[in-house]
């Protein structure tokens, strides 16, 4: 068991490291860098008289003239040693501060989405499997499919449209006005939770369909296994039997799905926040990518990726607790 956890943990660290490489490489992809963006903006705004080596100087100041592996090394070193994620050229502040401000809401949305999805998918999946081909099964399946087919951004767009046309606009947004710029506090968090349900429902519905189908398929598989007949031949009631045996077995693959559901939740959160213009990571990542504010983009992507990897790790742990075959091997 400990060996298994240790191995999973090593994988996690390794994965995060690879992700940091990918992230940094991808951030470097766009042609030019922030300095060139800045220079062209300055020229656009009418400053045609820049000092001849202005670009060089700024680059040297930010270390942009160094080879990329040196830049990567410094970036990683600062993160690990000081928890510093670099400087945002657009916002003119530390990237870390922006992250502290924006990430909690993203985490909250993702976490609540997972809960939402589980709370819906688990009972419906079980019900659909037990009552296979019933009217309810078909209805749930259909609703699930529609949730799957309506892309997050469209759902957000439609909600936005409805709220714009028929309600006061306060429905969209994550905080009440008085908390908008307030520092983090319990009251602000509670306020956030109250506003969270819109993005959570939008993001959740698209994930629920997949999980309902997973749970239903798993359970249908398990319902036909011989051990169910054995349990039935003992004289257990159908309900006890269902919960004690097949559901218990079907839960394992269900739990391991959290690993792959997180990335899509993050993606959903990004795009929904962009559409609804929520004060979470989404719009910041989008803008920083567009404007080559590389440390901000890289920091956000790194943390969000680490979060998903951590989610996978946690689901592995839960799996080990639930499944004796893993625990005892």
């Amino acid at each position: 068991m400990w060996q298994y956890i240790l191995r999973r943990f090593t994988y996690m660290i390794f994965t995060v490291w690879i992700i940091s490489l990918i992230t940094f490489a991808v951030i470097q992809l766009p042609p030019g860098d922030y300095v060139s963006t800045m220079v062209s903006q300055m020229i656009n705004s009418g400053m045609d008289e820049l000092p001849p080596d202005f670009e060089q100087e700024v680059r040297a100041q930010y270390g942009l003239d160094q080879p990329i592996y040196v830049q990567y090394y410094k970036w990683m070193r600062n993160i690990i040693r000081d928890g510093e994620f670099g400087y945002s050229w657009i916002y003119r502040r530390d990237a870390k501060d922006i992250m502290v401000e924006r990430l909690p809401a993203s985490f909250a949305i993702s976490a609540f989405s997972v809960l939402f999805i589980w709370m819906i998918a688990l009972p419906i999946g079980i019900y659909s499997a037990v009552k296979q081909y019933s009217l309810a099964d078909y209805t749930f399946t259909l609703i699930g499919f529609i949730g799957l087919a309506v892309p997050n951004f469209l759902f957000a767009l439609i909600l936005l449209f409805i709220s714009y046309k028929y309600m006061d606009q306060a429905m969209i947004g994550l905080y009440s006005q008085k908390y908008e710029t307030a520092p983090w506090s319990l009251a602000k968090f509670w306020d956030l939770v109250k506003h969270l349900w819109i993005p959570v429902v939008i993001i959740g519905t698209s994930g629920t369909a997949g999980l309902i189908r997973t749970m239903r398929a798993n359970l249908l598989d398990e319902l036909n296994k011989p051990y169910v007949d054995t349990a039935r031949s003992k004289g257990l009631s159908e309900t006890t039997l269902l919960w004690r045996y097949p559901v218990r077995h079907a839960l394992n693959p269900f739990i391991s799905t959290i690993g792959w559901i997180l990335p899509s939740l993050i993606a959903g959160e990004l795009i929904v926040s962009i559409v609804l213009n929520l004060p979470t990571s989404g719009p910041v990542i989008f803008n920083s990518l567009m404007d080559q504010d590389m440390y901000v983009a890289a920091g956000f992507i790194l943390i969000l990726s680490t979060l998903t990897v951590l989610g996978t790790f946690i689901s592995d742990l839960m799996l080990a607790l639930l499944d004796p075959r893993i625990r005892l091997s």
Binding site: Y11, F14, T15, I18, I19, I22, T23, V26, I27, L29, P30, P31, F145, I146, L148, A149, V150, P151, N152, F153, L154, L157, I158, L160, F161, Y164, K165, G259, W260, L262, P263, S264, I266, A267, L270, I271, I274, V275, I285, F286, L289, M290, A297, F300, I301, L304, S305, T308, V309, T312
Partner: protein
Amino acid sequence: MDMTVHEQAVVLGMHEESELKLEVATQWQLTWWKFRKHKLAMFSGGVVIFFYLVAIFAEFFAPWERTQYIAEYVYAPPQPVHLFDDGKWSPHVKGLTFERDPDSFKKIWKIDDENKIPITLFAKGAEYKVGLHWMPVPYLNDLYFTTSRHLIGAKDPTQPMYLMGADKSGRDILTRLIYSTRISLSVGLVGVGVSLMLGITLGGLSGLVGGWVDNVIQRLIEIVMSVPDLPIMLAIAASVPLDWSVIKVYFLITLVIALRSWTGLARVVRSKFLSLREDDFILAAKLDGAPQSRLIFRHMLPSFYSHIIASLTLALPGMILGETALSFLGLGLRAPAVSWGVMLQETQKVAVLALYPWLLWPAAAVITIVLAFNFLGDGLRDAADPY
């Protein structure tokens, strides 16, 4: 199944297999019989085929030419079709007039009940070619014909006929929607091709070779699956130089979308290979001394072609949605290419959307095709598991 019958036949001392053959339908037949019973999947298959037909013959289905616009009809509302005029068969749409809003000076469109624009099926319009003219192969590309018939259109092609309304430059939404089908649907196909290659190669290697190869590939899949794809896709898409051609951007975007979805397929392929390795009939073939390659291609692959097709069908909607989302954010395809995502870009501003809700038509197309692919894939997957 065959194996157990066989085995027990031996126990009970029977060994005539010729009669058994009669009972063993091919995998394809079994799949097809099962599939036929899924009415919804069959219907969805029809919808998918219809969409692809529209994509292939877009010139015919679209009432207008691809880039055609009438500048004065900016944001013209949809003109409903009327089939009868005074109780007589005379299909037509009503014309449009406008007033200026005194404050914003915007056009406010009104249906002009007096002005009836007759429309007809197989209307004459812009000329176009049907055939192989687009092929870069000499002689083959002479195989085409020219026509100017469109499925539906105004009898007088200079008259406006906006069945789904117009966009910000006075272009026909329906026409653009039809041409978009081409890109939106083919992105899925090309992407599926890419992930098919990656998935089968890596998943097959993983399942067949096993050992450290399997381990490395599994790690790779885990990493790819745990990276939140959207930011990476955004970053890559943001890096596309502005001067790239439409084709180049198209392939890059397709590749980016496909880079994620191969993992699912690789897993299916791997687990299939693993389970097939233990399977009775492979065992039987092994006992008969069949060589490895024959084993793979004659026995293993055919038994999960249907699985692969089902997985691919289920992967397609994800790619279509991916392209749509990227283009919606303005990071995917760009004009002059049109896809559903590109069209939906216009709806980003909710104030625009509130005034011109017909801009949302592409969303209906997205939802329809994604639903159709999902139902179809589900039916295929069920059918692929005959036992």
